[in-house]
Amino acid sequence: MKSRLLWRDTIGLGYRGILTRRGRSVLTAAGIAIGIAAIVAVLGISASGRADLLAVLDDLGTNLLRVTQGQGILGQSSGFPDGAAEMAGRIGPVSRYSATTLVDTSVRRSELIPELQTSGIGVFTAKDNLLDVLGGTMQEGRFLDAAADRLPVTVLGSVAAQRLGIRALDPQPRVYLGDTWFTVIGIVDALPLHPDLERAAFIGSTIAADLFDTTAAPSAIYLRVNPEVVEDVVDVLPASVNPESPDQVEITRPSDALAARKAAEEALTGLLVALGAVALLVGGVAIANIMVMSVLERRMEIGVRRALGATRGHIRAQFLIESTLLAAAGGVVGVLLGAGITVAFAINRDLTLAVPVAGLFGSIGAALAVGALAGLYPAIRAARIEPAEAVRTG
């Protein structure tokens, strides 16, 4: 002679318990929903942001080195020797290289503007392969080529063009370099890793030598190297480019900045997810609270069910299922909410949408676990109620 409650019916009881106290259920599940929404949104947004960051890293590559000449111990800046770029290019794992030399002049919109007011734009010589080595692209027009090397033409970085008020090449704009008009033949796209070159005007090295006495000694060398042996190249570079004072050679890897940003964003994501987890726990405590109250209020129901043949286990299961379902409902709403926030954010910021699948399932699992855990104590209390006490009225 057994007492038997079907699984289906246990779930039905939990479901009914939630539905008959609709308003309270909504408020109780809201905490879980908010916690889950926060976690999903943070994971979704950071996954979307990171996808773009990784794409940028992929695009630009992590194998670009920038070599410059620092100052000596006494503050003297000696500069590279003339053939420094070619020397660097001869190192085995260096596949491509290019160099720029700072030109001692300024660029202005017209001769009416005083020469000192340069808007922070630097003038550099550039070879035709510079953009190729940097992984840059043109926004307008074309880059310098061999034919342009001796002509009064210039290519502007994106920020330089903006500061000079140049947006289009038609009609052909001109800028005043030193005391010569140069025709602008191209504008370079943004170069996120090279802010100094975004603020530059590029001219050919031959005309630079003619007009401004610019030497062939580079001020910055850009190298593409075999990604496997970047460190080795860094080790031998100083002696190759400046045998006389190798300790003054400074080597940077521009992609390090992006990698650092990625790490920082990951740390921030971790922190925000932890905050979401705290919200989830608070939601769990709220559920536990309400369930304990609910058990007190439902003594009569518990007594009647025991009189009808429910075992302690059946009562425990009923309340456990109820709180788990409540949390699950909160979890589902939270996931939808978080996904919505992610999509809206991605569209707004023009990010590539990435779905953090593991995060989605993980957070639903977390909601279920929190619900079950929160329901445990109330369920045990409900099961402990003595049926004979619960059905007493007098």
């Binding site: 002679m1 057994k2 007492s3 409650l5 007594g303 009189a307 009808l308 043949g309 302690r312």
Partner: protein
């Protein structure tokens, strides 16, 4: 073999103050009996009913229900006994609010592992038996006191128990309505179910075959016809 057999049953609540709710009660109920328990408030009637119905255990003494020694059964086995053999009716009806009459009655089969469709079907029949065929989809709040108590009786009998216990089932009802409830219980008894009813009302008690008086936790006398 009796359906229920109590010997030297005592029940005390440790308190403080300590209350001896039942003292040395000997009682037998046979299959098909109709029993009224009568006595003043606080005399131990409800306590007796809970022990008779395997809802509670005695402090001392032995209880046998359907030839099983209650003291040897686990909580799970006692629950099984209640699910299959016993029906309870309470003074305050104890229906689930916001749940239709039919669903309330169907709860009576929930812990027997009966599938939902069959539960509803049998609940419909039980409601017909108590004269509420027209009220199946009503909520408790839409029913009168007498109708609510009929729903509660239907819930107690939907699983065809051997014995139904009713703790002052007419206590909250006017005389005429209460008398209708007693009719339902006596009809049930006529069909073979053992019925044990607690009441304050001498006229109600007089309609049952046996009338047991209880006073200060002891059986004070019995009339049987």
């Amino acid at each position: 073999m009796s359906l229920i057999e109590l010997s030297k049953v005592s029940k005390s609540y440790p308190g403080p103050p300590r209350v001896d709710a039942l003292i040395d009660v000997d009682l037998r109920a046979e299959g098909g009996d109709s029993v009224a328990v009568i006595g003043p408030s606080g005399s131990g009637k409800s306590t007796l009913l809970h022990i008779l119905g395997a809802l509670d255990r005695p402090s001392t003494g032995s209880v046998r229900i359907a030839d099983r020694d209650i003291s040897k059964l686990s909580d799970k086995q006692l629950s099984g006994l209640r699910a299959n053999l016993i029906g309870f009716v309470f003074q305050d009806f104890f229906l689930l609010a916001g749940t239709t009459a039919l669903e309330n009655v169907a709860q009576g089969l929930l812990y027997r592992g009966v599938a939902a469709r069959e539960r509803r079907e049998r609940a419909g029949h039980a409601l017909e038996t108590v004269g509420l065929a027209e009220r199946m989809d009503h909520l408790p709040s839409q029913l009168s006191g007498g109708e609510r108590q009929r729903v509660a009786i239907a819930r107690a009998i939907v699983g065809n128990p051997s014995v139904v216990f009713a703790d002052e089932p007419t206590g909250n009802l006017d005389t005429k309505t209460g008398s209708g409830i007693v009719d339902v219980l006596l009809n049930l008894n006529a069909a073979g179910t053992t019925v044990v009813v607690i009441t304050h009302d001498r006229e109600v008690a007089a309609r049952f075959d046996r009338e047991i008086s209880i006073r200060d936790g002891r059986i004070a006398g019995e009339r049987s016809s």
